[in-house]
Amino acid sequence: MSESALAARGVNKRFGSLVVAADVNLTLPPGARHALIGPNGAGKTTLINLMTGMLRPDAGQILLGDEEVTALAPEERVRRGLARTYQINSLFPQLTALESVTLAVCERRRVAQTWWRRLIAYREEIEEAHHILGALMLSAVCHRPARELAYGQQRLLEIALALASRPKVLLLDEPAAGVPREESKELFAAIAGLSRDIAVLFIEHDMELVFRFASRVIVMVGGSILVEGTPAEIASDARVRAVYLGKATRA
């Protein structure tokens, strides 16, 4: 097994004169639980878009395991084990939770092109989808269309969809965005309970959640990585304090 599940090597990206990624180097080891933090506009979501192929870097490489995937389309990267969720829900509003996840399982198993067999004949796929939904406490609502689910349940369905592709690496863009504090702890408990075969990188603003669930923290500012370390190191880092409490210290 290689030492990194996902890596960015010297990744650069600019929109016109705005630099959104400046020589970013990042390594996510297998089974990692890393948090990506930074002020708004630091380029965190952009970095996820670059790594998943939604954006193409101007320079640099993205490595998934040992394989370079810089030129691959997003769906190709998903098939190789790189999944993501979105900060703003991006679901299939009219499909039920079970249909949505079954669809993702069928795509992974390459049976979604079959039009002459009934969906219900795909017993294993449906059961697997049901199992994923069960693990995220969604069994009871699995026959509701995604648009009718409660907001917190939609956030969980986001994760269920990503898990259905059996990822080796999972990038979670503010998984608890908009979720009440109590529920977001449950949500993170579900994330923490994911198989250790999956490397997880999550963006999160709530420092309590970050320090509780991340083994390492990466801090991004202005398109580049400022510092990386354990939660304790980050908490005591003067530069990080300056970024987050800049105004407060000056006052």
């Binding site: 769906e75 079954t102 219900i120």
Partner: protein, 329 residues
């Protein structure tokens, strides 16, 4: 709901694809023209052809969200292919139908590579362009198509070497209805397959489809090819039952009409398009009898009224009514 068993999720999906009484009643009702309106069988066969054409558009628009303003290109390809086969000496209808559908499907497959790369407004322009391109090509290739005068010398042999195409349209309607029913069964199977689910996924959120690793482009190429084949089959039946083909089969008017029928009836539910075809064709027949020049006025009014009052079309309105009737004891 706490004791959800493993079998239960499948049962719920199974319940969705069971035949409903309304469906059985619909198909029994398609036999009525033979008994109650034998004078209208030719119209009935036109309705069945239109219904087949709408069905094909519903598969791409209603299920995969591909808006087309040039769907007549495939209808016309099928119509001309069937006409040419017959003109060149092979008038057997069923093989002619299959060959014409394959020809339209081939054209659909070739064009699907462009279609799969676009959505929304650019797609409308591209499909419109394909339609115009093909119509003008057929117009200028008059050595092949007969150009403005239409294709002459088509003769359709009796079906199964037994049933002649008669003046009253008995055979024509039976033939068109049988083809519609068989193809409908195939379409119904398709929408309840994993592929049907993937199409609904593309319609709902094509970006997210990429993020679950879906082969979105390949799905779109497949459904577009299938829809082109069905449209071609509809065109072929028109040629075979009327024994003429004119440039009008490729016209923009036909592409617009089929879109109107689908939206009138309701997209994404198979039966919506069928209902829309019946209402539209019968209304056109009646209105044009009353007022030959201005009948599109009434169609325009009907279209606006339906879209404003019933956003999910006539069938959406019907299912809303039945749900309310069930809710009130």
């Amino acid at each position: 709901m706490a004791s959800t068993t493993i079998a239960e999720p499948r049962h719920h999906l199974q319940a969705q694809m069971r035949w409903r009484w309304g469906e059985i009643a619909f198909w029994l009702a398609t036999l009525l023209p033979f008994i109650v309106a034998p004078d209208y069988l030719l119209l009935a066969s036109q309705v069945a052809i239109a219904a087949l054409f709408v069905l094909s558009l519903d598969l791409i628009l209603g299920f995969a969200g591909i808006v087309s303003l040039g769907h007549a290109a495939y209808f016309g390809t099928g119509a001309y292919a069937a006409g040419l086969i017959s003109k060149w000496g092979w008038g057997e209808p069923i093989t002619g139908l299959v060959i014409a559908a394959v020809a339209a499907g081939l054209f659909g497959y070739v064009t699907s590579f462009i279609i799969a790369r676009f959505r929304h407004l650019p797609l409308i322009m591209i499909t419109l362009g394909i339609g115009l391109l093909l119509q003008e090509s057929a117009n200028s290739a008059s050595w092949l198509t007969g150009g403005f005068d239409g294709l002459q010398g088509i003769h359709t042999w009796p079906i199964l070497a037994r049933f002649r195409f008669d003046l009253y349209g008995y055979t024509a309607y039976a033939y068109a209805l049988a083809a519609l029913f068989v193809i409908f069964l195939g379409a119904r199977r398709l929408i309840h397959s994993p592929f049907g689910l993937a199409l609904r996924g593309i319609r709902d959120n094509s970006q997210r489809m990429r993020a679950i690793g879906a082969a979105t482009h390949s799905h779109i190429r497949t459904i577009y090819t299938i829809a082109a084949m069905i449209a071609g089959a509809a065109g072929a039946i028109l040629t075979q039952t009327t024994e003429t083909v004119s440039l009008e089969v490729l016209g923009f008017q036909r592409s617009a009409d089929v879109l109107v029928m689908l939206i009138l009836g309701g997209t994404g539910r198979l039966y919506g398009g069928l209902l829309g075809a019946v209402v539209y064709m019968v209304a056109r027949d009646q209105f044009s009898g009353l007022n030959p020049q201005y009948w599109y006025f009434w169609i325009g009014l009907l279209l606006i009224a339906v879209v404003v009052v019933l956003p999910n079309g006539l069938l959406g309105g019907l299912s809303l009514l039945t749900r309310r009737a069930k809710a009130e004891p």
